[in-house]
Symmetry: C2
Subunit: 354 residues, 2 copies
């Protein structure tokens, strides 16, 4: 049997309360036997709830935390008031203390990022953390980052995101050298922001750094799955993610309306109901729930605040995989590989100029 | 009968040649009688082609231009080499000279923007031009700008884009005060880029300026149609546009595959074929072909380079509407209204501080 994976869960985060969290955890447990949980939150709520999941109880430990971070609390205030005392902080602290391999919360994203950065600290040689999304494409799932941790960002940050995102792709998709594209407004070298061009120049020189730099990609390359990892700063990445979600919902609504337009269409929809259900499942945002916080000394998964037990289970599954695949180690490898690649490049240039 | 609308067309722009252009124009002519065309390009190609469209010929004038701007030519080079001599320049010149109300090209976007800016010049009080997309939403068509003219941009530019975009929405959708949202990564006031926050502060003060400022919107508000006009800078706007196009194609491909999965689904697809055809038409990118260049002393429509006669006809239809609705006048009104609104605001503040 494989090693035990311990997931530290903020049981109070999310819009739908602790029940959804425990229910989601019980679903994960039915798929994986080598998992245990630390649930952080108010003892008086969690204790009676846990009684409802007799299989979950023996592999769970409750850790009391008085405070719950509100969904719309400002990050700085949440950090000031929730440090030490909140379920969110407590969940992160367990990862810092080595009691769990990964933390998960469905709470306020900004507060979670602020607390995670403060509690776990950025990794050496990584300037700022990023949130990575696992994005379904026509070819296969791909990684897109940053989808909202940092707004703006220079070339060095885009290079950091490349190292982080390619490590995630190596861990998740079992690839040796994932392909990486920099999101830009055109494939021609002339276009785009200065920092994107600068990052491109830096990435083009990297050799044996754990990724293969593909070049610039455009927005439609995400859905096509042109590369395994799409790198951009958090403002654009967040807007791309939400625009895609909005478009998928829009097309889904067009389809539903079209199939209700007349009796023949309704008959057709009846016959094709299995196919339409498969499509619905494929487009179900719950099956791709979970943003991965990268660049900190510890892995944190952000689950969507409004999800149900199915969505929560997906996010826990992602947390489980991250721990199972030793993501943190792969990132550390990636950081080293890249700095070695840069060192070699520099030595080569020095030799050439002698 | 209404006034004659003259559309100046770069007949050599686009990947599919002059035939698609003339065919598209003949389709527009069958819908509108008060339209005439100036076709710019190589006489030896256009003259024999025009013979194939006997109804189009009497309302068309050919203007010979020797040079054709290549699709991948760099804008600066295109401007240097194509000024005066190219079909693209010639099409713009006709608008500048007042011989046509609107110009259209399916050529190289960067070159067209560079030439249009040089030939028509930015409007007074507008710092830089923008490209607006007409974007279908679940509620109604909306305007999204900038989708690629300017990369980066300060608060003043976002305010300019608001004036331009809301004038376009007034002209196109026949609204008195279109609602405007600034694209951001969160609806809370704390988030986002500095220039977006600054623009928000400026827009919140505007009164009777020809638009109603709604506040921040997120990526998924585009598909929902939360506001009539979504304002952002060109890097993010272009990526949002292409990401949405990619997602729509992706969902379409999922649907096609799902309906081919088994015999029942295929039967269902057969019965629902009318509905599915309606959906396909709704999602057809050709029906929303055409970016509108705003902020110059003349209206220019960019048609997609790879489109066919149906797509070209849509772009010409857009050009026709822009001219018919006096877009340029509405923009000038908007610029004035906003500066009066700012003036009044200033006077009010001065009175208060006395």
């Amino acid at each position: 049997m494989s090693d035990i994976i311990t997931i530290s869960v903020d049981a109070m985060g999310g819009d739908n309360g602790a029940k959804v969290v425990l229910h989601g955890a019980s679903l994960l447990l039915s798929d994986h036997k080598n998992v245990q949980f630390l649930f952080h939150g108010r003892q008086e709520i969690l204790e009676p709830l846990l009684e409802e999941y007799p299989k979950l109880k023996p592999v769970s430990k409750l850790i009391h935390a008085e405070k719950v971070i509100e969904m719309h609390e400002k990050p700085a205030r949440a950090l000031r008031q929730g440090r030490g005392k909140s379920s969110m902080w407590s969940a992160l602290q367990a990862v810092k203390d080595g009691e769990a391999q990964v933390a998960l919360s469905g709470g306020n994203t900004g507060a979670l990022m602020a607390m995670a950065t403060f509690c776990l600290r950025p990794m050496e040689n990584i300037s700022r953390p990023a949130i990575a999304a696992i994005w379904p494409s026509m070819r296969a799932d791909i990684v897109v980052l940053d989808v909202g941790a940092t707004v703006g960002g220079d070339a060095r940050q885009l290079v950091d995101f490349t190292i982080l995102g390619s490590a995630l792709a190596r861990a998740l998709f079992d690839l040796d050298e994932p392909t990486v594209g920099l999101l830009n407004v055109g494939v021609e070298e002339v276009k785009g922001l200065e920092q994107v061009k600068e990052a491109a120049a830096m990435l083009a020189q990297a050799k044996d750094a754990g990724f293969a730099y593909h070049g610039f990609v455009e927005g439609d390359d995400i859905g096509k799955g042109t590369v395994d990892v799409v790198v951009t700063e958090g403002f654009t990445g967040n807007i791309a993610l939400k625009t895609a979600e909005g478009t998928a919902r829009q097309v889904g609504s067009y389809l539903r309306n079209a199939l209700k337009a007349d009796i023949l269409s309704m008959i057709g929809a009846f016959f094709a109901s299995k196919a339409l259900r498969a499509l619905k499942n494929k487009m179900d945002p719950r099956t791709n729930n979970g943003g991965v916080f990268l660049g900190l000394n510890g892995i944190v998964i952000k689950s969507h605040g409004g999800t149900d037990e199915i969505g929560l289970k997906s996010a826990l599954e992602l947390a489980y995989e991250m721990a199972q695949d030793n993501l943190l180690e792969k990132i550390n490898d990636g950081v080293q590989k890249f700095s070695i690649s840069q060192q070699e490049q520099k030595t080569k240039e020095e030799n050439l100029s002698e």
